[in-house]
């Protein structure tokens, strides 16, 4: 009896559940198309607010928009931040925030979007793909014509190619990415310059156009001078360094054991001569790349624990002075200097330009796009088209106008910064990002400016304004000596194709990652086991994956404009 009742109950709940799913997805689709069609005709001439390119958005009536807010543990949300006040004064807009700890941001975002209760504005989205199918995210490319500042960024900085990365198989994109006029310096190697100098390595001359082989020579010289068991013990299980080198060898590598993908991705690169994708991690270039790292490993240049140790262990060795090289970004370097992490007080730290390789001296930083903003379908449904466009124009001002970007990053002129010779100068009592190390207040903690939710993207000048002299110097070195690499086109797979390809990609790249480390550490032999490796990649579907990728590419290249 009980069993029967349970069975009936289960069936009923399943059927209702299924019906619920079907109904909701149908509705949203219909809503979307009709709203979009009307959107382009109405919504003009709605003037209860001011907006425009390089014009401050101001709403005559006070409005409030709901927004998801990623709360950073280092500068936790405060209600009385000057940031909120400044935005309200300029625009008459306030936020109704859903606060989420940064560390669990994705989980909460997923719960909110998939349950249909997402706030209107969903910033800090690194990957929008999982949310597109829910029908809860507005295909924003249909609406960007209402965003004058956004359009201006795209045109002035030539962002069209970059934006193609965001397209989905319907030829639309679903996220408003942060945009920089030029790439940042990205990750590279911090070295102990005092030790390198003492060992007779003239880094500053060498780094201008050095290759990984020359970097190896330099490390070897340091090893001979110090007599240390190793000179480089790296964080991120070496995967950041592998990615930096992979770019220069024309291959793909770098995935840390915690799942952080630094560059391996799908082991595929686009061949611009043949206009097709090719599988690079079974090529001779990859073999050359592996034998280089194998050499570093066997000769004791790289610490044998590099590929397994956790981040803290690697840093500890560097701070204690047991290793002399560490892969990091410039913020980490600023932090080490500000907080005096080095045990040896005479240590001098220097970030080198990443070395080049067989493919030339390429920039390792790929894209000028940052994480971005998704707009929830709820905004369109609840605000109506006119209200929706008004909100978009506010978003446009805050995230894409120079005025909005400067406000988010530096705050209020006269209160937190001044402008001298058209350059932004932070008040001397405020610390930010290595600037004014003796400042008693902090721009992000005490005022809310310079935080990750608002302050990303902008002109080259704005980007440079938040750098210390040393960081500017590093960025200049990278800009002067490195060529930008051409970005591969995206594979515009639909839902079924994506699933099919993921089923191949995940086990295949896991295998490649494992074998990469085996070849480097010598558990697999590059001569004896190489053919076996290539054969295994084949049997795990490398060819099939490429065929599928090329098939999709030829099908969708008109969307991409090739």
């Amino acid at each position: 009896m009980t069993k029967k009742m349970v069975a009936v109950l289960l069936t009923v709940s399943m059927v209702t559940g299924l019906m619920g799913c079907g109904a909701s997805s149908k509705n949203t689709l219909a809503d979307q198309t009709s709203d979009t069609q009307e959107g382009s005709t109405q919504a003009q001439g709605n003037e209860e607010y001011t907006f425009g390119a390089d014009k401050t958005f101001y709403s005559d009536e006070p409005v409030s928009y709901s927004m998801l807010f990623s709360d950073h543990e280092n500068y936790p949300y405060k209600e009385d931040w000057l940031l909120w006040q400044a935005i309200e004064e300029k625009t008459n807009v306030t936020f109704d925030l859903t606060l989420v700890a940064r560390t669990d941001y994705e989980d909460k975002k997923s719960a909110l979007v998939n349950s249909g209760s997402a706030p209107y504005i969903i910033p800090k989205t690194y990957d929008e793909a999982p949310y597109v199918a829910s029908g809860q995210i507005v295909p924003i490319s249909d609406w960007v014509q209402y965003m004058p500042n956004y359009q201006k960024c795209v045109q002035d900085w030539g962002m069209e190619e970059d934006l193609k990365q965001k397209l989905k198989d319907d030829g639309k994109y679903y996220v408003l990415p942060g945009m920089w006029e030029s790439q940042g310096g990205g990750y590279s190697m911090i070295i102990r310059k005092d030790i390198f100098d003492a060992a007779g390595v003239d880094v500053e001359t060498l780094e201008k156009n050095w290759t990984w082989e020359e970097f190896y020579d330099a490390l070897k010289q340091v090893k001979e001078y110090t007599g240390a068991p190793y000179v480089w013990s790296d964080q991120y299980q070496g995967s950041c360094a592998l990615n930096l080198a992979a770019v220069e060898y024309g291959v793909k590598a770098g995935r840390s054991s915690d799942g952080g993908d630094w560059g391996l991705q799908n082991a595929v690169k686009f061949d611009w001569d043949k206009m097709e994708f090719s599988f690079v991690d079974t090529s001779d270039k990859f073999k050359e790349f592996l034998s280089f790292f194998h050499k570093m490993y066997t000769e004791g240049i790289v610490d044998s624990e590099t590929y397994t140790q956790d981040i803290d262990a690697a840093r500890e060795k560097f701070f204690r002075g047991e290793s002399y090289v560490l892969t990091a970004n410039y913020q980490q370097l600023s932090d080490m200097i500000k907080n005096e992490k080095m045990q040896d007080e005479n240590a001098s730290l220097y970030m080198v330009t990443p070395p080049g390789g067989p493919m030339g001296n390429l920039r390792t930083e790929l894209s000028r796009l940052e994480n971005g903003i998704m707009i929830s379908q709820n905004a369109l449904d609840e605000l109506g088209e006119e209200g929706f466009i008004k909100m978009l124009r506010f978003v446009d001002w805050l995230w894409y106008s120079n005025e909005g970007q400067t406000l988010s990053l530096w705050g209020v002129e006269g209160t937190t910064y001044t402008v001298e010779d058209s350059k932004i100068v932070l008040n001397p009592d405020i610390y930010f990002n290595g600037i004014n190390p003796d400042g008693t207040k902090k721009l992000n903690i005490d005022y809310g400016f310079g935080g990750g939710v608002f302050a990303y993207g902008g002109t080259e000048e704005l980007r440079a304004s938040k750098m210390t002299e040393e960081e500017k110097n590093f960025t200049e070195r990278v800009n002067n000596n490195r060529e930008p690499q051409k970005i591969d086109p995206p594979i515009l797979a639909n839902e079924d194709e994506t699933e099919e390809m993921e089923l191949i990609r995940v086990p295949l790249t896991d295998y490649i990652n494992t074998m990469t480390l085996s070849f480097i550490t010598g558990t697999a032999d590059l001569d004896a086991d190489w053919d076996e490796y290539v054969k295994n990649c084949e049997s795990k579907g490398s060819t099939k994956y490429i065929e599928k990728a090329n098939e999709i590419f030829s099908k969708t290249k008109s969307i991409l404009g090739y």
Binding site: T2, H72, Y75, S117, D335, K338, Q343, N444, G452
Partner: protein, 290 residues
């Protein structure tokens, strides 16, 4: 008088001591390490020099954590959730467990498996969210922490078996004397069930003290956060480096993290030695049916 201990006994005692020492060491070391870190200088911790005792002793970290207003607010919230939640949960569990313990009630054959079912299967995060946040309208409400998970099936079963163990004759006698069902429950059963109630209080209190997921998923504003969620943010933040974002500041220091963890686990650690016998008893209580 000298007691002679045989050789084999001696070996046994020494081995026993060594094994137990290892067990104690493995259990206690994380706490010792945490405390040592929290009293050390940041520089020493970053270089990995701290292991058993503080290096470059300092109390500035504690001063820093204790000077934070939010620390007290989150703590107050946790205490509120702990007390209110325990009251609600224990009351709810007792009220449900009592009728379930009566085998003469026929529908129990349906309700007991119905409850047990929830131990093994759950709706999943999103359906739960829709239920609690949208349908019950508890989004960003303190009740969303207290109500949805109020009755734990495991605790319910423990209590049910305890109630079944109480002599039926007592209730029959009370009924003959003219007591109704509710008075019997309130005046006879509850006073007899103090041991299991104490155990339940402890189980629920510890659970609520450490709870971070429900607050994380249902609450939208930070002024309702419990301290556990805050600690999680600090600890996870240190392990989770954001890749390639433009404007992030440096990591929160390990010493602050350690000091916060010490301060938040302190009350439970202090209480635990006095009540730990209930933990063990609670598990076996009611296991043997009288």
């Amino acid at each position: 008088m000298k007691i002679k201990v045989s050789k084999s006994r001696q070996i046994f005692l020494i081995t026993n001591f060594l094994i137990m020492f290892m067990v104690v060491f493995v259990t206690l070391y994380p706490f010792v390490y945490l405390i040592a870190q929290s009293f050390s200088s940041d520089k020493a911790v970053a270089a990995g020099l701290v292991s058993f005792y503080p290096i470059e002793f300092t109390i500035t970290t504690y001063k820093y954590v204790l000077s934070k207003v939010e620390f007290y607010r989150y703590y107050a919230n946790t205490i509120f959730y702990g007390i209110m939640g325990t009251l609600i949960s224990v009351a709810g569990t007792a009220i449900l467990a009592y009728p379930l313990s009566k085998s003469r009630l026929r529908l129990n054959k349906f309700f007991i498996p119905f409850c047990i079912f929830t131990m093994y299967f759950s709706g999943g995060m999103i359906p739960n969210y829709i239920l609690v946040a949208k349908w019950l309208n508890l989004r960003d409400s303190m009740w969303s922490i207290l109500l949805p998970g109020a009755i734990s099936t495991f605790n319910l079963l423990l209590m049910k078996s305890f109630f079944s163990g109480l002599p039926e004759e007592l209730e029959e006698a009370a009924a003959i004397d003219g007591m109704g069902v509710y008075s019997i429950f309130a005046k006879i059963i509850i006073p007899l069930s103090k041991p299991i109630i104490a155990t339940m209080c402890l189980f629920y209190l510890v659970g609520l003290w450490n709870e971070w997921f429900a607050p994380f998923i249902y609450l939208d504003s930070k002024d309702k956060w419990p301290v556990a969620l805050w600690v999680r943010q600090l600890v996870e933040g240190a392990n989770n480096v954001e890749m390639g974002s433009g404007a992030e500041e440096s990591q929160i220091t390990t010493t602050i993290k350690s000091a916060t963890m010490v301060l938040t686990s302190l009350p439970i650690i202090c209480v635990y030695p006095f009540v730990q016998k209930y933990f063990v008893q609670g598990m076996t209580m009611g296991a043997v049916k009288g």
